[in-house]
């Protein structure tokens, strides 16, 4: 991969008390790459991507985002975060603001973009996730799938250089999963750098450049989707895939 690296993790470890959540993680994500991270519950995959915008602190190793090292005494964490979009399992839209305002708030309050310009940007991205007609509603008036698409638009409005997805479809009703995955697939096609924690193996197969399997806080296996799914190397990967693909 010749493109410039956006996220570099070197020997990253993290502990919750005595429990080690991340063990010596080494991972480099390049510009334009689409990464899918999967693994059993509690394997540290969410923790890992939450370290990438320092919602969580790592205790050992180094994480660099666009060359900026993340550590406890950094002064410009807000600048890094505004350049790293994040989509959460439970959407976390701001319930007291309209959909439009949810999307305008970031550019206006962090980057100081004038309201007109922010509204244009917000409308553009709401059209891109195909819900411009919901702009003046409040989040509770929307379905789960619509809310998650608003959350994606909200992150896109900051025009980030990388998007992190933390199980974006796990809290959705089955019939709404595909509308969110479609949005993410389009985003991938447009060249967005993406790191997705997800169990949607169909999405991984279709979109990912690299699939990473984590267990017990370690990266067990990584590879191109084709070889990862058809010819997994490790027993734990095989077991996981057999369980998740059984149905």
């Amino acid at each position: 991969m010749s493109a410039e690296p956006i996220i570099q993790a070197e020997a990253v470890s993290k502990w919750y008390g005595a429990f080690q959540a991340l063990k010596d993680i080494n991972l480099t994500i390049h510009k334009g790459e689409r990464i899918v991270i999967c693994g059993p519950s509690g394997s540290g995959k969410s923790t890992l991507i939450r370290c990438f915008n320092r919602l969580e602190a790592h205790q050992a190793g180094e994480i660099r985002v666009n060359g900026v090292q993340l550590h406890a005494k950094m002064r410009n964490v807000a600048a890094v975060r505004s350049d790293v979009g994040m989509v959460f399992q439970h959407f976390n839209l701001f319930p007291h603001m309209t959909v439009l305002m949810n999307c305008m708030a970031g550019p206006m309050w962090v980057k100081g973009v004038p309201a007109d310009k922010a509204r244009q940007t917000a409308t553009k991205f709401l059209e891109r996730v195909r819900i411009p007609e919901q702009a003046n509603k409040f989040p509770v008036q929307l379905s789960g799938g619509q809310q998650q698409r608003v959350a994606i638009a909200r992150s896109l409005c900051m025009e980030p250089s990388v998007m992190l997805f933390d199980e974006p479809t796990s809290a959705l009703d089955p019939e709404m999963v595909s509308e969110v995955l479609d949005t993410m697939t389009e985003l991938a096609r447009d060249g967005m750098t993406m790191v997705c924690v997800t169990h949607e193996m169909g999405f991984a197969r279709a979109v990912a450049d690299r699939v990473i399997f984590m267990d017990y806080g370690q990266i067990v296996e990584e590879g191109q989707p084709e070889s990862f799914f058809t010819n997994p190397q490790h027993d734990r990967t095989k077991l996981f895939l057999s369980q998740i693909l059984k149905h």
Binding site: F88, N92, G106, F138, V140
Partner: protein, 324 residues
């Protein structure tokens, strides 16, 4: 409404056993009280003759009349829609209270003569003292709540000491301590500033806990979403957390405001000419205490009702984003 059942049970006040039991209970209670000796005996004079000489018959007849009126009243109210029920019961209770005050044989011209001064001096001072104290208390409460939630040991220690101390002392004592204690340090404070200071500090301590609970009630995800966009701590607090905490904070805070309005009467002990002070002093010269106390009571009540109305309007305003 707690939980409106989809199946309508029989109305309790129309069940024969309930009506009978209520009738019996009311009759028994009023038979035990010697009604003919009260003002009600005078009303019954056409039926029982001279109240003082009516004996058991007088008591029986009076209790019977009251029991019949009350039972009929409650059974009838059971037939009308809920809004009418609420209205009728309010009016009835109000009439009973007015009748109670009427028995004092108040000197209304005296009240009318003193009322303008009670309002221009007393009500204005009460409102002014409470309003200023409420604003200062709210500011203290926000600062206190953030300090109590912060990871800074210094801020936490100050905030927890403050809430512990000012919640632990009687407000009346704080008023005295500030008014009489500060001059010991060389600061001579007027009665009004001392009163405002005491009320602000005390209510700020209570409201600190309300604000802290309100802020803590907001889901962690809101913090994470806000911080992940790049909002600073203070921006997150002002734009994301506090606006969502307000609907949680407002009902108990409204409660505090109403309590504050009435607790401002405590500053009358240091000679602030607010409503309570005037109520105690205006009638003193002519021994017309009841007139002034009842007028002041009514004014306090009306002011509280105004605050209740404002509170419910604000609650409705913040309910918007919850409407489906």
């Amino acid at each position: 409404m707690l939980y409106a059942d989809t199946v309508e049970a029989n109305v309790l006040v129309h069940k024969p056993w309930f009506v009978a039991a209520m009738f019996a209970a009311v009759f028994a209670i009023f038979f035990a009280i010697n009604l003919p000796e009260t003002a009600f005996g005078e009303l019954m004079r056409p039926v029982i003759g001279e109240p003082a000489e009516s004996g058991v018959y007088g008591r029986f007849a009076s209790a019977l009349v009251i029991a019949i009126i009350l039972t009929l009243n409650i059974v009838m109210i059971g037939f009308v829609p809920i809004h009418v029920q609420i209205g009728v019961v309010w009016i009835e209770l109000l009439v009973l209270f007015l009748a109670f005050f009427y028995t004092f044989q108040l000197d209304f011209p005296f009240i009318l003569q003193k009322l303008p001064f009670m309002i221009t001096q007393g009500v204005l001072t009460t409102l002014y003292v409470s309003a200023v104290s409420i604003v200062i208390a709210s500011v203290l409460a926000i600062l206190g709540a953030i300090a109590k939630l912060s990871s800074n040991g210094f801020a936490y220690a100050i905030a927890s000491f403050y809430t512990s101390f000012f919640r632990g002392l009687p407000l009346l004592m704080q008023v005295y301590l500030i008014y009489l204690g500060l001059p010991q340090l060389g600061f001579v404070v007027g009665a009004v500033p001392a009163g405002v200071l005491a009320l602000s500090l005390c209510y700020g301590a209570y409201m600190t806990e309300i604000f802290r609970a309100g802020i803590q009630s907001i889901d962690r995800g809101q913090w994470e979403a806000s911080r992940s966009i790049g909002f600073s701590f203070s921006l997150t607090m002002r734009k994301i957390i506090l606006p969502q905490a307000l609907p949680v904070i407002i009902p108990p805070t409204g409660n505090q405001f109403i309590a504050m309005l009435k607790d401002s009467s405590l500053v009358s002990v240091i000679g602030v000419w607010e409503l309570m002070f005037l109520a105690r002093t205006l009638g003193q010269k002519t021994f017309q205490h009841m007139e002034m106390l009842i007028s002041a009571a009514m004014i306090y009540w009306i002011l509280s009702i105004c605050l209740e109305l404002i509170q419910s309007r604000i609650e409705r305003h913040y309910g918007r984003s919850k409407v489906r």
